[in-house]
């Protein structure tokens, strides 16, 4: 933001950064083989849905496209709004074969059709869900691990919500509401993955997403 923008008080929302979404489609291999983190077969893209007929039409078209391309691999699409008014488009692999590549392709299709329609600045983030296989020192054993892709910055960061009551057998979605996050585990993941994923360098931008519906 230049001096001129400060003086005129003008501010436009940034469009997406150069795309590094597909880094996940190779990084998951080492997550799985070396770090005991399995893909959960679900990913979502989060964006602000403009309340205009034109935007709704774009969304409908896009859902058709994703359904069509996902048809071969069996990927399903569902849409929901969260309590903050953001829209989640959730892509789910079939039980039999989970493929991070397919999910990344689907997410990218959604993102690029929003961008082509001229609303690239409405994209917030993409979320890929993983599951921690074995209990770790960080205490996140068996819990969900999310990798969040920030569209504005083109960086990834890990998000590991902690169950609120450690002994409780609450469901994952229940436990991840407004709780604590396993910062230690996230920092470990940063160190482990930084050669393969472009990780957000500024820790204060590792924004949590509570109540992730996937």
């Amino acid at each position: 933001m230049g001096l001129r923008d400060i003086i005129t008080g003008r501010h436009e929302v940034k469009g997406p950064a150069p795309d590094r979404l597909f880094a996940i489609s190779t990084a998951y291999i080492s997550l799985q083989s070396e770090h005991g983190i399995d893909p959960a077969g679900v990913a979502a893209i989060v964006f602000q849905a403009l309340a205009t007929s034109e935007f709704e039409a774009t969304l409908r078209e896009m859902e058709e496209v994703v359904k069509a391309t996902g048809g071969e691999s069996g990927t399903t699409v569902s849409t929901q709004d969260d309590s903050y008014g953001y829209r989640w488009m959730v892509l789910r692999n079939p039980e039999s074969s989970s493929s991070v590549e397919d999910l990344a392709v689907g997410i990218n299709a959604v993102a690029s059709s929003i961008e082509t329609a001229g609303h690239g600045e409405r994209l917030l983030c993409a979320v890929f869900a993983f599951t921690q296989r074995a209990p770790t020192a960080g205490g996140a054993g068996g819990g969900p691990v999310y990798f969040i892709y920030n569209y504005k910055r083109g960086f990834w960061y890990p998000f590991v919500p902690l169950a609120r009551s450690p002994g409780g057998a609450a469901g994952a979605a229940e436990a991840s509401r407004d709780g604590q996050r396993a910062t230690e585990r996230e920092l470990q993941l940063k160190a482990q993955m930084s050669s393969e994923l472009p990780i957000e360098p500024e820790l204060e931008r590792w924004f949590p997403l509570w109540g992730i519906p996937i």
Partner: protein, 304 residues
């Protein structure tokens, strides 16, 4: 940035008025500084004092304001919804997360403080948290974050520097030069000089006061627009403004009096009386703000 389609049109008129106001302000200040230097030595001391005051204001004003207003920082665990809204807007605006504070008062309002993006603070009152729906609260918070993005506190503090200086000089000159048995060992020429500086200072203060108020109103329009651009929901902010203004009249006066000093930071000024003339107001009238938001909404709807 490359030309890309945007959901909203440009608002060159507002920017032109803002730049014009700043230009006039600068012009007044240049004349003022010229007169000060022409008047000679003693003015130098005042400039130094004013500079120190300016630095104090830049680095301390938010702390002082926060201390007097009973502002409390809240953690994500205490206010998950407010934090959630602000975090998402920060991602959207590519902004580091500011400190999030709550003021325990029933008056619905919100404000942003801090001289830079890194050290910013956004506050919401308990009243506004209770009153507004999430989407409306998001619009209000986006308005405050736009103040942070536009560095409005910094701009307004710097813009008002010479106005502050002029008012100080006017007071100084009254004290030491004017009435109170002044004139010991002073020639007529010195007397005249002091009177001239006094006159110019008063004049500079009066003009810059009006210009500053105009500038503040333009920054508010810019922040409304920024909020609409950030959230993509101009009507949510309009609805929030309507709700806030509807309840502003019913609030206890004691709170208002305490809040009066902060009104430049607030989303709606904390006042019960209607102001005499719009040129003295630091916030634009509600009708104009609503009209501007309505224009944005229709731009959005017809952007097919």
């Amino acid at each position: 940035m490359a030309k890309r389609r945007s959901s909203f049109g440009k608002d060159t008129g507002l920017q032109a008025r803002m730049v014009m106001t700043m230009f006039l302000l600068g012009l007044v200040y240049v004349v003022f500084v010229g007169v000060l230097f022409a008047a000679g030595a003693a003015a130098g001391v005042i400039v130094v004092v004013a500079l120190v005051l300016l630095l104090l204001q830049l680095f301390g004003s938010d702390k002082i304001a926060m201390a007097t207003m009973g502002v409390k920082e809240v953690s994500p665990a205490q206010e998950p919804e407010l934090h959630g809204i602000i975090e998402r807007l920060c991602v959207q605006a590519d902004l580091p997360k500011p400190r999030v504070c709550v003021i325990e008062t029933s008056m619905p309002n919100a404000c942003a403080m801090g001289k830079s993006q890194k050290s910013a603070t956004v506050c919401a009152t308990r009243g506004i948290l209770d009153l507004l729906e999430p989407s409306e609260l998001e619009g209000v918070m986006a308005h405050e974050l736009t103040h942070v993005i536009n560095r409005d506190v910094m701009v307004m503090t710097l813009a008002s520097f010479f106005a502050t200086l002029a008012s100080m000089i006017a007071q100084f000159a009254l004290f030491f030069g004017g009435g109170f048995g002044g004139g010991y060992g002073r020639s007529n020429e010195e007397e005249e000089e002091i009177m001239l500086v006094l006159l110019v200072s008063v004049l500079v203060y009066a003009i810059s006061f009006l210009l500053l108020r105009a500038l503040s109103r333009y920054r508010e329009f810019a922040a409304d627009r920024g909020s609409a651009v950030l959230t993509g929901r101009p009507s949510a902010l309009a609805s929030a403004l309507l709700k806030i203004s509807g309840t502003m009249e019913r609030v206890p006066t004691q709170d208002l009096r305490r809040a009066e000093g902060m009104s430049a930071f607030f989303i709606l000024p904390a006042r019960t009386k209607k102001s005499l003339m719009n040129i003295f107001a630091d916030h634009p009238p509600l009708e104009q703000r609503l009209a501007a938001l309505e224009r944005l909404e229709s731009q959005l709807q017809s952007a097919a």
